[in-house]
């Protein structure tokens, strides 16, 4: 017995596996650095002086520590208008998304839904084929939604993919016996959804909030299409102006000192780094809190619907 045991152990820790373990650890650390480096670089630059950034002296740590870049961002009114608009678009939009997704996903999870197969096909077909950019734009225009918040909420109200993910979740977590016993007690479908299904679907709702929420927060394209009024711009559109198109709106700054500061080319460059940090920070924070759910959600999605 003892002999046998030691032999198994010897097989387990054979030489090539030891090399393998070391190699895997090295690869993991390399990968970690490759992903981390650009992020660290941006943060380091945002806390450096404009001169150090422009001459390329910053890599991993701040050089000539300074918070000037952040002073400019905090004085830049457009950014905060954008921030407020984005929060509003994200909160209302995500709520609508989640409500509609539940309303579609729960009926699809029930086997006794009449015409389930056909209606499902009608939904799934829209994943494979769509009217495209111009007809969708014309629809929004004809409904007189241009330049309103609804143009950001309605076109992407329901993601069929998410409906399938949620439907799969309901099918696997809510046992049929629960429904049967509730029905015997005279519980209506609406009541069952409200007081049994929804309290049981906390995890999946968290995942949906996260996915739809990122979509709204990071969206610039539909706002670029539909929103022309600058006071209604979401954050990403202002970011596009400053980060990509390189234009700074001086009327949006209140401090005259900061205005002078921004006229320098290197300060405009520095502003970009602090903006990247300020605009991405909330999403990354939320992510670190809900990371557990996030992985779970993708895994449910990977089950075949």
């Amino acid at each position: 017995m003892v002999k046998y045991h030691s032999r198994v152990n010897r097989i387990r820790i054979n030489k090539s596996d030891k090399v393998f373990d070391v190699l895997i650890t090295l690869i993991a650390i390399t990968g970690l650095l490759i992903v981390l480096y650009p992020l660290m670089h941006v943060v380091a630059c945002s806390f450096s002086s404009a001169k150090a950034v422009q001459s390329g002296r910053v890599s991993f740590y701040p050089v000539d520590f300074s918070t000037q870049a952040y002073e400019v961002v905090f004085d830049y009114k457009d950014i905060w208008i954008g921030y407020l608009n984005t929060i509003m678009y994200t909160v209302v939009g995500t709520t609508l998304n989640v409500v509609f997704t539940i309303l579609a996903a729960y009926p699809f999870s029930r086997k006794d839904l009449i015409g389930r197969g056909i209606i499902m096909k009608i939904y799934v077909f829209t994943m494979l084929f769509s009217g495209g950019l111009i007809p969708s734009y014309l629809l929004v225009k004809n409904l007189h939604l241009l330049n309103t918040s609804w143009s950001l909420w309605l076109p992407g109200l329901l993601s069929v993919y998410n409906v399938i993910v949620m439907k799969t979740y309901y099918q696997t977590t809510i046992p049929n016996e629960l429904l049967e016993s509730a029905q015997i007690d005279g519980c209506s479908n609406r009541r069952f959804l409200w007081s049994v299904v929804i309290p049981l679907s906390g995890a999946i709702i968290a995942v949906m909030v996260l996915f739809y929420g990122i979509g709204h927060w990071n969206n610039y394209f539909s706002a670029m299409l539909y929103i022309t009024d600058k006071s209604k711009y979401p954050l990403q559109l202002f970011l596009r102006e400053i980060l990509i198109a390189n234009t700074v709106d001086y009327t949006s700054l209140s401090g005259s000192e900061i205005k002078e500061l921004l006229k320098k080319q290197e300060m405009k460059l520095l502003l970009k780094y602090s903006l990247i940090v300020v605009s991405s920070f909330p999403m990354l924070c939320i992510y670190s809190f809900v990371q557990k759910y996030f992985v779970k959600g993708v895994m449910i999605g990977s089950l075949k619907g």
């Binding site: 390329g56 009217g131 734009y137």
Partner: protein
């Protein structure tokens, strides 16, 4: 309950499909969608014969084929690395860090690319200079655009895309591994003979899904990465449709709609064909 979502799907998904008819008409604002005269395949012919046609289709196909085939390699690799890491802390950190770029918005991502690869102060060029090499203008060189586009995408999405493979790796029957260990198989051999065959169907399904979008590329990112110097390789069907249809001062709807319809039909056909082939070869299918 299903009433409202279904009404929504019909209005916002099927009415635009009905609106595709303007691809066969000469749409003008005054007569609207129904009053405008039918012109048959005029716009399609115009597109097929235009000098832009081959450039647009070529750029679109090369960008998406490049990312479809290079894209899944690193996520699969990362999933295997995660699965075999002994140090749990390192594993957690690696997961946390590699998933994070998924949350960066396209605008911010493109800005990071612009700063990182900038010719005078970008860290890459600073490093090249220190090594005594010639500096490279990544951002305006049209030959480098596809690589820049694809590899920055890989940087951003490898972590996120690995989750699905990691999930199917943890689903592998542990008795297979136990048996292999008793037989003295090394970890490398177990990866090759147990892990990879077990996640094969996941890989194929994801491949089929990505082939369906072969005609549409990451519009949002490409549009932001475009500049006058790299347009030769960066102009794709999506960006072209947007530019001539909605961004130009003269409203011109029919021609770009025809291009968009051409794109969607090819995409639909491809996904059906590839699914058929996969069904025959490996018995894996989307439906």
């Amino acid at each position: 309950m299903l009433f409202f979502p279904t009404v929504y799907i019909i209005i916002f998904k099927y009415i635009p499909m009905y609106g595709l008819q303007i691809a066969f008409k000469d749409y003008n604002l005054f007569e609207g969608m129904f009053g405008s005269p039918w012109v048959g395949f005029k716009h399609f012919n115009q597109f097929f014969q235009s000098t832009e046609f081959w450039r647009l289709v070529g750029n679109t196909l090369s960008l998406s084929i490049y990312s479809i085939f290079v894209g899944p390699i690193l996520p699969i690799f990362l999933a295997i690395v995660l699965n075999y890491l002994i140090n749990n802390k390192l594993k957690k950190t690696l997961q946390m860090v590699t998933y994070a770029p998924y949350f960066i918005s396209t605008v911010v991502m493109v800005s990071i690319i612009n700063q990182f690869f900038a010719i005078d102060f970008g860290p890459i060029n600073v490093m090249l200079k220190k090594m005594g090499l010639a500096q490279i203008d990544f951002l305006s060189n049209p030959d480098l655009f596809p690589h820049l586009y694809v590899w920055t995408g890989i940087w951003q999405y490898t972590g996120f895309n690995s989750i699905i493979y990691l999930a199917s790796l943890t689903g592998v029957d542990p008795t297979l591994h136990e048996a292999a260990i008793v037989d003295g198989a090394s970890k490398l051999k177990r990866i090759w003979h147990i892990d990879l065959p077990s996640i094969q169907s996941t890989i194929i399904i994801l491949m089929i899904m990505s082939v369906g979008s072969i005609m549409s590329t990451g519009f949002e990112k490409i549009y932001l990465m475009q500049n006058n110097l790299n347009l030769r390789t960066s102009e794709v069907i999506d960006t072209y449709v947007y530019k001539i249809g909605l961004a130009s001062p003269i409203a011109n709807y029919s021609f770009p709609t025809a291009i968009g319809l051409f794109q969607s039909v090819i995409g639909l056909l491809l996904i059906v064909i590839v699914n058929k082939i996969a069904q025959k070869v490996s018995e894996v299918s989307l439906w």
